[in-house]
Symmetry: C2
Subunit: 367 residues, 2 copies
């Protein structure tokens, strides 16, 4: 519990320093990070109200009252009942807090329904995003947090080892996704970090396609993108495999992606900018003639959220610092044919980068 | 694809009728309902912009461009690149649309980060919630939609039958949750409808507790709350079982909940109000002396979202109509001891209610 209290103290100091009166958090990784309590967002208003001074307050539906007190050091939990609704309690609670001139931070992922409710209760407030305070706190991971990322990464690696031994020619994409999720849980993952992506054949050319009912066929390229959780921290790994046999075309494109990924990882060190890492992967792919087919950024930060800052893309001149954790995942997508992506999580060390994923990059022929 | 075009037309007529210039949807069930396209919300701005007249427009990050055109009849897909960001494209696109006096609807679950971006681009806009238009469209289900709810309910029933045969005394809550999820997928569920809840022993007294590392012990009350998906439509079922053996205390409380649930379901028919259904369950539990321990509403609507309107709670005087689908799930929660909840989904018929879950309500002794 002490860790949450010390984080809360830092957050309140930052609120004060930046002259915000209040930070209103919604069920999110920010809420978990500061309070130890989390549940999926729901339609019932649930706020953690962090004033710049004094004790933070949970405003919660009745069914959470007991659970929050058990899981969080925040002990001022104010309960509203389904039959009353939350608005009166929100008004009374905000009136008690000293909001200054009503500069208020709201959780970046707060639902519009709650933001508009807050705006109704505080019509004069100017609203900005809580990431201003939360991201500087969360972006450089502590040793404990890096350990969690490493454990989550190991589970994902072990799941991949299990998968390459399967006969995937008897499976649909959804079957393979279910098999992956089963081994993730078996290896100790608390839950999956995000919906498992299994994209086979031409579907592999769609970077955000999810698993579907398509049967995996010999000759298919199959992109596997999945992640585990350990103490709330995520892993995220992508491996591209081929079913039964491969062609020279596939192998050639695979090698370009593999090289681009390796060069970008090798470039990571304190002081390099995020966009520079992106540029290194992108130039390698462009040089090979596929620049237009690398249709996303090189990576994203990771921690309690699967996607968080720092984003590794052109235009982001953030200098990387020790303890930052992010993915390096270039890809090439050939519409109607196939796609290739290789992704590892790395953490910036004093002198370079440490990989959280150690599964082989050699093209695996599966099934 | 025609179904999406006809829904879009209705939505635009309602926008026009209510004098809104624009509805901005975010990745959500609303987006899926109107366009056929859905993915999990992410940090990249992705809007479906529905003007009151003329063609709707997707504004999407580059990596979705191909996928949206495949999955949706909305063919005006405007792409932004990670390196450029979305704001300029959003400005240009909104300038092309005729927004009238800028009364704009936003998706109820739109993230604050995107709502504030929209507000920046349209500083004079007055924002209200899209549910004003979407809920009247979605609340009364069509025959096809009810079929999907029924299939999703059957899968959940069959998963329960598999579970009562297991030896749960060798399992933790998380093991049992994983076993449930595995049989759900086996019975054809596309994915799970929400994170499976397995609450054993004293944890069962926390209505929103998720599965944890607690080992299930003989004598435990175990609450199982889970759901499947069929063509996007959810099921949601709760059964409370006991491990190995039960006590008279547990049985007595179970019977009260069972009776309250049955009476509420029997009361459902067109014309009764949502709060009346809540009152019937609540009075039965209050009469037995546990009114204060029934700490949530009686139910929630269900469809493409696990929780949607109509909510079955005190204060909601909405009259139920044929085709509305919702849960009936009273519970009693005794802190530090145990909790009991029984939940079925029902659909309002011409004269009463049809259950989407048929699993037995008799108290099952498992393991």
């Amino acid at each position: 519990m002490e860790i949450y209290q010390s984080r809360m103290k830092k957050a309140q100091e930052m609120l004060s320093g930046l002259d915000f009166g209040l930070m209103a958090l919604f069920p999110s990784s920010n809420m978990l990070y500061l309070s130890g309590f989390y549940d999926e967002p729901g339609e019932r208003l649930l706020f953690l109200l962090v004033p710049r001074e004094g004790d933070p307050v949970f405003l919660a539906p009745e069914l959470y009252g007991q659970q929050i007190k058990q899981e969080s050091p925040v002990q001022d939990v104010r309960i509203w009942k389904d039959s009353d609704g939350p608005v009166n309690l929100l008004e009374r609670t905000l009136a008690e807090l000293d909001l200054g001139d009503e500069r208020v931070l709201v959780d970046d992922r707060m639902w519009a329904a709650f933001l508009l409710t807050l705006k109704e209760v505080l019509p004069k407030a100017s609203l900005e995003l809580a990431s201003q305070v939360m991201m500087p706190l969360r972006m450089q991971k502590t040793w404990d947090e890096i350990n969690c990322l490493e454990r989550a990464g190991e589970m994902a690696d072990r799941a991949f080892e299990n998968i390459v031994g399967l006969d995937i020619t008897v499976m649909t994409e959804l079957d393979l996704a279910a098999a992956l999720e089963e081994v993730m849980i078996k290896h100790g993952s608390e839950k999956i970090a995000f919906e498992t992506l299994v994209a086979s054949g031409p579907n592999s050319a769609l970077p955000h396609y999810r698993a579907g009912r398509r049967k995996i066929e010999p000759g298919d390229v199959v992109v596997l993108d999945y992640g585990c959780r350990y103490q709330g921290y995520c892993s995220d790994i992508t491996r591209t495999v081929v079913c039964k046999a491969t062609s020279e075309d596939v192998r050639a494109v695979y090698e370009i992606v593999e090289r681009a990924q390796e060069m970008a990882v090798q470039a990571v060190r304190p002081g390099i900018t995020a966009q520079e890492v992106d540029r290194i992967a992108r130039e390698e792919i462009t040089k090979a003639g596929y620049g237009e087919r690398f249709i996303h950024r090189t990576g994203h930060g990771i921690g309690l959220d699967v996607h968080e800052e720092p984003y590794i893309n052109d235009g982001n001149d953030l200098e990387l610092k020790e303890g930052m954790a992010f993915s390096v995942e270039p890809g090439i997508y050939l519409q109607g044919r196939f796609g290739i992506r290789i992704e590892d999580i790395v953490v910036v060390t004093e002198t370079g980068a440490k990989r959280m994923n150690l599964s082989t990059h050699d093209l695996q022929v599966v099934g």
